[in-house]
């Protein structure tokens, strides 16, 4: 499988009210063709900004630092000019967001908005052909009354329908990569289930890769092939779905998995929590960012950033507990 996207040493800083926030600090990961990668972490970990970096949407006061490489099908798109970005966005790579109501133009009919996306990528076809393409795409995303839908305004549709419209707009030019930033967080659970099933079907049909950004581990278990766990701007662990859920290595990953109450488990014991808060990103700790909250923290964790170690060909993590010199009964292969 070829690598569709390779992120190499990407770093993003933001000039904010209290200082310079190091939102993303030197991360590297890759996405293969047709693969679904979940970028998981809590708010402030830098996952949304990572997504925006791939789309070239990081603007002042944010800055993608020198040395960051974003290699999409062999080309380093971090160097793109605005013109090149405009050609890239929507065609090679599209993005959908959490709240469709905010992302859609409230004064424009649905049909027009979708066609606009087609026009942006200079597909020279007649109006009838464009309309047919739009209707086909709407049907693909699970909208039954596609013809009627074209004439409606966003506020006339339900949340689920709007999300499907947003997906249709994003996929109409058959991009190779779809970035979905918390696409179902604002939806009801039953609608979320519908949308996720439809996305999976679409992905198979279009052979599209998906980068799914979420904090909901349930969705990840359902949809993802690979998981990248982020904390305080860094990648702490990366692996296949089974590796992460059944053999997590990093203490943060483990804590995250344990703090989610399970519907299929009984018992009213206290939930495992992660005490404390995320560190101040204008002044991140020089060692491991999770040190303060980690039950296994050692002196070296506070002093130096942990080196990345491989657990298997697809599984890697950055934790001092993986070092041979760490205390026995440590984390290495849980």
């Amino acid at each position: 499988m070829n690598n569709l996207l390779e992120m190499k040493h990407v770093a993003v800083n933001f000039a904010a009210y209290g200082g310079t926030v190091q939102a993303v600090r030197d991360i590297s990961f890759s996405i293969e063709e047709g693969q679904t990668v979940a970028l998981v972490g809590e708010s402030g970990c830098g996952k949304s900004i990572t997504a925006k970096t791939i789309m070239g949407l990081v603007k002042k006061p944010g800055k993608v630092m020198e040395g960051s490489q974003i290699i999409f099908e062999g080309t380093d798109i971090a160097r793109y000019s605005s013109k090149e970005w405009r050609k890239f966005r929507g065609k090679e790579c599209s993005m959908i967001f959490q709240d469709a109501l905010v992302s859609l133009n409230p004064t424009m009919k649905i049909g027009k908005q979708i066609m606009e996306s087609l026009d942006n990528h200079a597909v020279t076809t007649s109006k009838e052909e464009k309309k047919k393409k739009v209707i086909d795409m709407l049907k693909l995303t699970g909208i039954a009354d596609a013809e009627k839908c074209l004439e409606k305004y966003p506020h006339e549709l339900s949340g689920g329908m709007r999300q499907r419209i947003m997906i249709a707009i994003a996929l109409i030019s058959h991009p190779k990569l779809l970035i979905a930033d918390e696409p179902t967080t604002s939806l009801d659970v039953t609608i979320q289930a519908q949308i996720l099933a439809e996305m999976k079907a679409l992905q198979k049909k279009l052979n599209m890769a998906i980068l799914l950004i979420t904090h909901d581990l349930g969705i990840v278990a359902d949809v993802a092939d690979k998981i990248v766990v982020m904390y305080a701007g860094k990648i702490v662990e990366e692996g296949t779905v089974r590796e992460i859920f059944y053999h997590p290595v990093h203490p943060y990953t483990k804590a995250l998995l344990n703090s989610v109450p399970r519907l299929d488990r009984d018992g009213k014991e206290m939930l495992c929590t992660i005490e404390g808060n995320i560190p101040d990103m204008t002044n991140p700790p020089k060692g491991c960012a999770f040190c303060e909250r980690c039950p296994h923290a050692m002196n070296i964790c506070a002093q130096y950033m942990p080196e990345e170690k491989t657990v298997s060909s697809s599984h890697r993590a950055s934790c001092w507990m993986m070092d041979e010199r760490a205390a026995k009964g440590g984390v290495a292969h849980a």
């Binding site: 209290g18 101040d280 303060e292 002093q303 205390a327």
Partner: protein
Amino acid sequence: MENNIVITNDSFAKLEKKKTVEVSVERQSVWKDIWKELRKNKVAMVSVVLLAILIIAVLLAPLSPYDPYKLDASQKLQGISSSHWFGTDEYGRDYFTRTLYGGRVSLLVGFMSMIMTVIIGTSLGVFSGYVGGKVDMFLMSFTDIFLALPSMLLMVILNTFLKPGLPTLIVVLSLFSWASVARITRAETMSLKERDFVVATQNLGASNFRVIVKHIIPNILGPVIVAASLSVANAILMESSLSFLGLGVQIPRASWGSMLQGAQAHILDYPLLAVYPGVMILITVLSFNLLGDILRNALEPKIVE
């Protein structure tokens, strides 16, 4: 990123952690915010400084060796000299001193009418917004009437009927300015009323009075302060216009507006007589307007992510 890692004997020993509950970034004080806004807008900075100088100078007016009311025909219409920094007017009075005394009147009128405007407007607006319903509808219609009146015209008419003088002037000016403050505070109150923290206080059994005084008013201070600043500017302008028409401050008292009126007669031969008070009005009104902008920006809630 190559780290030169130094391993010691206890590198892999358990880390002793301090048991504190972390609280996030300290928010900068309001004054720092204001200072930051001033630095961003150079013109505003200059005008605020000028305003400060002006206010200080005006307060120090009694230090002047000259009597602003003493007539001395022998000194009339002198130009700028070291003894008369602004020259003299047609009655031989030192113009610089007159300007300062005039400033005292103009600024006094401005501040006093601002205070009345803010008190009347805020009380009515908050009450109307909080109580809502028919009371609100009635009060707002009442307010709308005042907003719709041609203020200048009516002020002129009122002044001809009422006893002329500073108190009348202040009352009349407030009468035509409270309405917009009422509107602003009512709108703010109505949106605040629905906020969770107000509901929470009501749920604790707080009386309406407590809710208004402790929770509504402190949270509308921002827009009120901005409105107050603009109100001073407006009042000074209106007072100047009224005094210029002979309806405001009476002789021999000076205000910038009345000085402008006196300068009319000599506009061709001694135009400076009009320039000095005119420029003072300009600086003051502009500065208060800009100050209002600065305060509005500085008092906007900052989201510290």
